[in-house]
């Protein structure tokens, strides 16, 4: 209980390095930055493992209180963002997919349409755009909420009540965001492909909707579905972990919250790009 957060705090104790006097040379400065990056990676990884352990061990504990909280987080990181995602899907379809389809048709390359759409929309743009939007909308709110709770001593209050802060505050956010990003990506992809088809139809591209969707369906294989699920859940998991880590796993004062939020969003973007790179390698290998 107390140990979970204490371990994370121990690993997140980077303040002394950040506030140390300025180094005398550029090499010292670069060395310190590298050291800070390594310590942050260690802290985030440890926090991720601790959270995974808590999810596995305590998923059913206090279910009367916790399961509604998980549903609430799924709603926050998923359902409530649906209108915004429908708008983004429509825009993506008209601005990118419609134009791509028209350009391919102009050069007589419509036979590449399916594989192009799968690579661009299903594998890359859909998951990455969803992750970035969820990071901006929900991840930032996570850091601010948790950072404020930390600064106001609410975390100590939870511990005083015998409530594990990782279980109560982090587990619902991690599960909610992992499932939210997965579901929103599916909706974004379907919406973007459909609006792209509509755009192509309106632009008089010589391609029937049935041919358009048949080509996309033929270009998709089971691995795309499996890796899409894995990738989007990994995005959601790590966005939640990075933002919660920065909000919760270090002692904060109220004035630190905004600075920490900026750092968390930056690291969230980097984490998503790194995960994306790993999946590109996986796609190339399979």
């Amino acid at each position: 209980m107390r140990g979970n957060l204490a371990k994370a705090v121990e690993l997140a104790n980077l303040q002394r390095f950040r506030h140390a006097p300025l180094p005398r040379s550029y090499t010292d400065y670069i060395g310190r930055q590298i050291f800070l990056v390594l310590l942050t990676i260690q802290g985030v990884a440890a926090f991720a493992l601790i959270t995974l352990g808590v999810i596995l061990k305590k998923f059913g504990q206090a279910h009367g209180l916790m399961h509604p909280r998980i549903r609430q987080e799924i709603n926050r990181a998923g359902t409530s963002l649906l209108p915004m995602f429908m708008f983004v899907a429509l825009a993506l379809g008209f601005l990118v997919i419609g134009q791509t389809v028209a350009a391919l048709a102009k050069v007589g390359a419509t036979s590449y349409l399916g594989s192009t759409m799968v690579i661009v929309v299903v594998r890359e743009l859909g998951p990455l755009l969803t992750a970035m939007l969820v990071l901006a909308r929900v991840g930032t709110a996570n850091v601010i909420e948790l950072g404020t709770a930390r600064a106001l001593g609410e975390v100590e209050a939870l511990e005083a009540l015998g409530i594990d802060p990782v279980h109560y505050l982090i587990m619902p956010r991690v599960l909610g965001m992992a499932l939210g990003v997965f579901a929103l990506t599916i909706y974004l992809i379907i919406g973007a492909l459909a609006s792209g088809c509509l755009c192509a139809f309106l632009a008089n591209v010589p391609l029937t909707p049935s041919d358009y969707f048949r080509q996309i369906a033929e270009a998709l294989n089971w691995l795309d579905f499996a890796l899409l699920a894995l990738k989007t859940m990994a995005f959601g998991f790590f966005i939640a972990i990075v933002t919660c880590y920065h909000g919760l796993a270090q002692p904060l004062r109220l004035e630190d919250v905004s600075r920490v939020a900026v750092r968390a969003v930056t690291q969230g973007i980097i984490a998503c790009l790194l995960i994306d790179a790993v999946f590109i390698v996986l796609y190339l290998l399979t």
Partner: protein, 260 residues
């Protein structure tokens, strides 16, 4: 009413070094040796920043001593984890500023420990919460969030939340801080009822430890006093005793209070 009989040790500190919550490298008290037995009512006095809150956080097992041993109900707080959750829940704790959850109403704050630790139905939880709110005269404020009520009601809601799980040992960090004379009197009387055994809790006495920087409200002979001064912890007996009257911290606090 007769005093509760002295029984087993509930809190024991041996050679404890107390460090600050916000800066673990800062030592606020050295070599704390203290034993609290079941049925006792302790008041720990000290000026502001003497280390009262940090001492209480160590006593509650919320901070681990870097040196020495702290035992709660026989369990070393260094090893407090999931397996000792039963022992952990025998201790109630209220912070100096209440530390309520700002997004919840007062009723939801009080309900939180019950909903987390007890497998009650919603109706049973609601009944228990309503009883506690009534006991602490919080019913009219039940559906307000902490930001919309005065500090005194926040303080009482924090006390109600700490009492929700019916602890055997209640640690209160400066419970009188910022209260008016009327509310101070009410609180001290209420704590006395808890210590003697309130009928709401089935007449079971609760062991109490409160910190304070104002000794006047606590001047009754049944309480034991300790003082924090110059980074040391000393037991100073009961109100008006020779050791009590001699202690530097006591004279500072009483003089300060008179001056105020």
């Amino acid at each position: 009413m007769s005093e509760p009989s002295i029984s087993p040790v509930v809190l024991e500190m041996r050679g404890v070094r107390v460090t600050a919550l916000r800066d673990p490298s800062l030592v606020v008290l050295e070599d704390v040796n203290w034993t609290v037995q079941a049925g006792e009512f302790w008041v720990v006095a000290g000026v502001q920043h003497a280390g009262k809150s940090d001492l209480l956080l160590h006593a509650a097992g919320l901070l681990t001593p870097t040196e020495g041993n702290c035992r709660l109900f026989g369990c070393d707080t260094r090893e407090f984890d999931e397996t000792q959750i039963r022992e952990r829940l025998r201790v109630g704790f209220t912070f100096a500023d209440g530390k309520l959850f700002n997004q919840f109403t007062l009723a939801e704050n009080v309900a939180l420990p019950l909903r987390y630790h007890r497998h009650h139905t919603e109706a049973e939880t609601a009944r228990a919460v309503a009883g506690l709110l009534e006991l602490l005269e919080l019913t009219p404020h039940a559906n307000l969030t902490p930001g919309n009520v005065a500090a005194v009601w926040r303080q009482r809601a924090a006390l109600a939340r700490a009492l929700a799980l019916q602890p055997e040992l209640l640690l209160l960090d400066n419970p009188n801080g910022g209260l008016t004379a009327r509310h101070r009197r009410w609180l001290v009387d209420f704590l006395d009822q808890l210590w003697r055994g309130h009928e709401f809790f089935g007449g079971r006495p609760i062991t109490l430890v409160a910190t304070t920087d104002d000794l006047y409200p606590w001047q009754q002979p049944h309480r034991k006093f300790a003082a924090l001064h110059d980074g040391t912890f000393s037991e100073i007996g009961t109100w008006g005793g020779a050791e009590f009257n001699r202690h530097q911290a006591v004279s500072e606090l009483l003089t300060g209070a008179e001056g105020a």
